[in-house]
Every structure is written in structure tokens, then in C-alpha cells.
Amino acid sequence: MNSPTGKIVVLIFVIATVMILLLLGFILVILFLYRKRQMNFTLQLESIKANAEKELLKTQLEIQEQTFQYISRDIHDNIGQFISLAKLQLNTLDFSQLPLAQNKIAHSADLLTQALDDLRDLSRSLNSDLIRNNGLVPAIELQIAYLRKLDVAEISFGVTGDNRFMDEQSEIFILRIIQEAINNIVRHSDARKVDILLRYEQGHLFLSVEDDGVGFDPAAALNPNSTGILNMTKRARLIGALFEIRSSPGTGTTVNLSVPY
């Protein structure tokens, strides 16, 4: 071992051992630091996931609340009014003047029929059985039939591409968005022409609702009181769809929705 060769062997052995120990040390340190970082990252991910679930639940509850408000408003403004008027007519019946009484009874019957129709329409619009049993297109056609009955505007509806059944939840939400868009047209737009287009394309469904009404400023409409647009936005987000409103005062409004399959 005292010979030069022996010394060289010892030297090589020592250097090799030191190198291996250094390498092992380096690997252990990197693995430890990385694992610590990974654990922090996992905790962050879990926190983000929990927050996202909370937001989702909150959005669903808000949508539910708005639906209840919509029902309440419709019952109060339309159905309630018709029934109240019918009741007033019947309370003021004077059987001593038979022809007048007959008129009032007939008018009351008309009002009650109107109330019943509205109630039936409201029930049908909220009931998702039509979509469940027939699909999205018949449900949209029903909405359009309702709109035509109001004689508000000239409505056209077109479907292109191969019809595809999507998951029920998405179709219900798409219908609710269309209903909201139609409600806005009826209440605010003064439109004379409404075009609804449904396009089944590769990978996604594209919906467009366009009117030639008075238009509005979308940015100004995005306030907490403007629940309709917020409602549509939230519903679109829930089904992973891209939602867009294009409008400006005097140029009409286009609502676009792109839903992935």
C-alpha cells in the first residue's frame, strides 16, 4: 500500500467515495425540497378546489333564487291581475240587469281562461320534462310559439348541422338562457324581427339570438340589479359555455352562446 500504485488506488477510492456521497447528498436535498414544495402545491390546489365548489354552490343558489323571483313576479303581474279582475267583475254582479251580468260573467270567464293559459305557460316553461322527453329543439320551438302568440315581433328559427343530444343539464340551461333572452326582447327591445339560430358544429353547439330592437350598452347593463344578463352569464359558466352579448344603443342586440359537447 506504500507503493505509488497503492497510493493511487487509495486516492481513486477516496475520491470516488466522496463523489458518490456528494451525489447522494445532492439528490436527497433536491428530493426533500421538491417534496415540501409539492405538499404546499397540493394544499393550494385543494383550497382552490374547495373555493370553486363553494362558488358553484353559491351560483346555483342564486339562479334558484332568481327563478323563484321570476315565478313570483309573473304570478303577481299577470296571473294575479287577471284573477283579481275576474273577482272584481264577479263581486259587482247585478242580477237585476241580466245582460250586463251576462257580459261580466263572460268577461270573467275570459280573464280566468287567460290566467289559466298563463299559468300553464309558466308551468310548461319551468318544467324540464319537455327537454327530457323530446330534446332541446322542440323545447325551443315551444318558446317561439309562445312568443308568436304574443304577436310581439316576426320570429324566425333555424337549425343547421346534425342534431345531437347533449346532457340534460346543459340543454336545460341553454333553454333557460333562450327564455331569458326572449323575455328581454319582449320587455325591453321593441324589436320587429327576431332571428334564432342553432348550429350543431364540430365539437360545439352554437346559439345566436338576434333582434333589431333598440339595443343597449352591455357594460352599463352589468350591474347587480340587472339580474337577467347576470343570470345568463352564470348559467353559461356552469356548463362551460362561452357567452357573449353584442349590442349598442340603436343597433339591436345579438346574444351568442357556444357550448362544447
Binding site: 481513486i12 463523489m19 458518490i20 439528490i27 393550494q44
Partner: protein, 218 residues
């Protein structure tokens, strides 16, 4: 030699397991071939002019091939486009300097070890970039199951230790063989880590980079 052969066998057996490591069977085979040529030349035909020329050319070729193979692997393992650009610039700088050195410094023709030193110096920064990016992003896959970690650790260790060794080789009169032995030991460590990399479970993703994950702020 044993480690090299073992690494070659494992790399061929696990060729399909890790698509990102498909360059390594060729790398290991080239290393083996280069060593065999040098060994045969110096042991059995010392002083033969033709063999000297062949070994000289094989050394030049090996310097370039090793750099390209290892650099490509590191480039693939770092996903960020801006850092990839830096690695490419680093590679370009290496080739420019190498060509300049061959053409302008005659001293190096008889001291080819310095080409390896130059190559090592230009392989260390990409390895450091990889480790820097490793801690810039977060990946749910455990580090010990990422082949790139093992391979690049081996490359960094080999090249970082080679630089001082090869720079001082001509100062250590009589100890040149010792230095080369240590250098071969470093290569053995690299091949051992290559074997470890091949034993990692296959990934479902096409590439296994730290970038296949969410970047988080440091």
C-alpha cells in the same frame, strides 16, 4: 465498462417505456464504441498514425455528438419557450467557440481534453436551468418518478466535476491516468442514473416536463 454495458442493455430493453429517452441507447452505444476504439488504438497499436488520426476524429465527433444528445434531452425537459431559447443560444455559442478554437488554437490539437472541458462548461448551464424551472413550477408527479430528474442530475454531476479535473490534468504530471479513471467513474455514475431513470414508471403524458403543470410564483 460493466456499467456502460448494463446501461445499454436496460436502455434497449426499455426503449418504448420513455419516449423522451430514446436518444440514450445511441448515446451509450456511441460512448462504448468510442472507448473501444481508443482502448484498441492505445493498447495494441500505439504510435500508429492512422489509428491516431481515427481516435482524434472520434474524439471530436464524440464531443459534438455528446453535446447534441445531452443538450437535446435537456431542451425537451424544459418546457418554457423563453428558457428553451436561452439553451439554444448556449448551444450556438458552444459551436461557435469550438470552431474558433479548432481553427485558431493549434495547441488544442494535441491537448484535446480541453474540448471536453469546453463542452462540459456549456452543458452545466442548461442543467442549472432545468433545476431552476423545477422549483418554478409544480407538478403532482413525485420527483423520483421523473426520468428527467435522474438523467439531468447525472449530467450535471458528471460535467461539473469534469471541469476542474480536465482543466488541471496537464498540471498533474504522472497522474493523468488517475484523472481519466476518475472521469470514467463519473461516467459510470451517469450510466447508473440512466438505469434508474429507465426504471421510473411510464408517464401517461406525451412529454414529462416540469412545465406540464401549473406555474406558481416563487
Amino acid at each position: 465498462m460493466v456499467c456502460t454495458l448494463a446501461a445499454l442493455v436496460v436502455s434497449i430493453a426499455c426503449y418504448r417505456r420513455h419516449p423522451s429517452m430514446r436518444i440514450f441507447p445511441y448515446y451509450i452505444a456511441s460512448s462504448l464504441l468510442s472507448d473501444i476504439i481508443v482502448c484498441v488504438a492505445f493498447l495494441y497499436y500505439p504510435g500508429d498514425f492512422l489509428l491516431l488520426a481515427i481516435t482524434s476524429i472520434s474524439r471530436y465527433a464524440w464531443v459534438v455528438f455528446e453535446f447534441v444528445a445531452l443538450n437535446l434531452f435537456i431542451l425537451r425537459s424544459v418546457g418554457s419557450p423563453s428558457w428553451k431559447r436561452i439553451i439554444r443560444i448556449n448551444a450556438l455559442a458552444f459551436f461557435v467557440l469550438l470552431i474558433l478554437a479548432i481553427l485558431t488554437i493549434p495547441y488544442l490539437h494535441t491537448h484535446q481534453v480541453y474540448y471536453f472541458t469546453l463542452q462540459s462548461a456549456f452543458l452545466v448551464p442548461p442543467c442549472l436551468i432545468y433545476f431552476y424551472r423545477l422549483f418554478q413550477t409544480s407538478n403532482l408527479r413525485p420527483l423520483k418518478d421523473q426520468p428527467a430528474f435522474w438523467v439531468i442530475t447525472g449530467i450535471l454531476f458528471l460535467k461539473a466535476c469534469s471541469i476542474p479535473l480536465l482543466l488541471t490534468i496537464y498540471l498533474m504530471k504522472g497522474y493523468e491516468e488517475t484523472v481519466f479513471t476518475i472521469n470514467y467513474a463519473l461516467y459510470s455514475l451517469l450510466f447508473a442514473l440512466l438505469i434508474r431513470a429507465y426504471l421510473c414508471p411510464p408517464s401517461n403524458a406525451q412529454s414529462v416536463t416540469p412545465e406540464d403543470s401549473i406555474p406558481v410564483s416563487a
